[in-house]
Assembly symmetry: C2
DNA sequence: CGGGCATTTGATCTAATTCAAAGCGAGTGG
DNA sequence: CCACTCGCTTTGAATTAGATCAAATGCCCG
């Protein structure tokens, strides 16, 4: 459930349309508002918990928004790092390549999540960020983030938390890749998606996958055939219903039982 | 090669003794100096690149050092988060547990590395940090880090870089766990250790493992038997010599070839 | 309506796990 | 100082989860 101007709104489906509807509701006069104060995502995003006054200061951060079409690249490994990106709507994957050309999906990002943290260490991105559906991001120049977070303690804290969250998330993925069997991984994956969607006001039982079986497999360290077979197994066991990429979770308890090995979010 | 007061020193073996020897050389009058300015690790640690003046300000950060005996816990999942820890000497592992009790090693830390970043998001640690040999850490209260890094830009930048480095490291581990076969993982693991040791002035061909086969396996997502067999295979192929935990790399090129799938450090 | 990608499903195959047993080494106490 | 553990490691044999190879089906989109 996403709270906008104190009003909670319930969604039963996630999609660009719904987010745009939300934008419309939240900011009737400024449809493509360029400021954080009028952005309906501010309670998910970098400025969580900032006072109106602090928010004013942070506004200076966001002057550019960028549309990224499905299939397009936001940044690529090797690109010079200058900005973080806050995802306003749409869906991304990040992929990391090895010297010998193998590629792995290392994350999926949805509304309100921050892309580009990998670039900070070496002033250079180490992964590709590719839109899996038409998306829009706020471009956040990192030097400005650093500058403003020296003045606004809450922003400083948020930056630290977001980075730490990413580190903890990665621990969970390692757990998944290192310890879990195919079924457990897929169960954990579905639950994780659905949980994040729920935090954003969408259904906790129904979702539209934005990625292929192959991308899921790459992320989960298994082959696309295994992903497909495991989906089929879940369907046979009446744990989920699956029509192509539309998934309905019919037995969340069973799924949770399977995914036990995964570290749950605190 | 570690540069101390402008003098480069070469080690052929890593061990507590050697680090203590170094301490002795670097700070003859204050054997257990409690300040960063006199710490021989300052070029590896949080204060990299700080001017003497800035260093003075950062000094206020470090007032406590803590000894941790082999097998002892520095912090545990669930512990309240208050400090980061800079590793002065010794060797740690961090382990993450799942609800159903499975445990996985998610990292090994050596001199100059920072522990505790996982705790920032939820003011609570999410992993255990356990010393694999007698160790000493500087206790760095995180609120002070935040406070000082508002004033000292270079420190702020270092904090961000260290967190980002961790994120990039984790991407590499995911790559390893998701894409690589047992041999490749072990090769990548050995090369990574040896590379980090080399950055600290130790040999790039010889190392003393501080962890068991089981711990290696847990980190690499394989069983201890497989780790052992793979070591034996490397020995048979004359890529390494292994006597218990003492490893000599005799054919680094072959090892590098095997580990190609791993993302190399930029 | 046709072409190309994505998905499903089946039949082997194999890398790694599991189960089992023996060997080794460092530390302890008689 | 030796004998005896106990934990770690190695090696072997059997088993298996998932990979690979292959083919058919489905679906979207121009």
């Amino acid at each position: 459930m996403l709270s906008v101007h104190g009003v909670s709104i319930d969604f039963d489906q996630q999609s660009i349309q719904f987010i745009d509807k939300l934008t419309l509701m939240a900011t009737p006069s400024t449809l493509h508002a360029q400021t954080c104060s009028t952005c309906n995502l501010r309670e998910l995003c970098l400025p969580v918990g900032l006072s109106a006054q602090e928010l004013n200061r942070v506004e200076q951060l966001v002057n550019v928004r960028k549309r990224v079409k499905r299939g397009d690249v936001l940044f690529r490994a090797g690109d010079a790092f200058a900005n973080l990106y806050a995802l306003r709507f749409g869906f991304f994957k990040t992929t990391t390549a090895s010297p010998d050309g193998r590629e792995q999906v290392t994350g999926f990002q949805m509304v309100g999540e921050i892309l580009g943290l990998d670039g900070i260490v070496h002033d250079q991105h180490t992964c590709d960020a590719i839109a899996l559906e038409d998306a829009e991001v706020c471009v956040l120049p990192f030097d400005k983030i650093e500058e403003i977070s020296r003045e606004v303690n809450q922003l400083q804290s948020n930056v630290h938390r977001i980075m730490s969250r990413e580190i903890v998330r990665d621990q969970g993925v390692m757990m998944m890749l290192g310890n879990m069997r195919a079924e457990e991984r897929l169960a954990a994956f579905l639950l994780n998606l659905v949980q994040r969607l729920q935090e954003r006001g969408f259904s906790s039982t129904e979702l539209q996958l934005r990625m292929t079986r192959e991308e899921i497999g790459s992320y989960l360290g298994m082959k696309l055939e295994t992903v497909s077979r495991t989906f089929s197994k879940f369907v046979a066991e009446k744990i989920i219903e699956a029509n192509q990429r539309h998934i309905v979770i019919t037995n969340a308890a069973a799924l949770r039982r399977l995914a036990q090995a995964q570290t749950e979010e605190i």
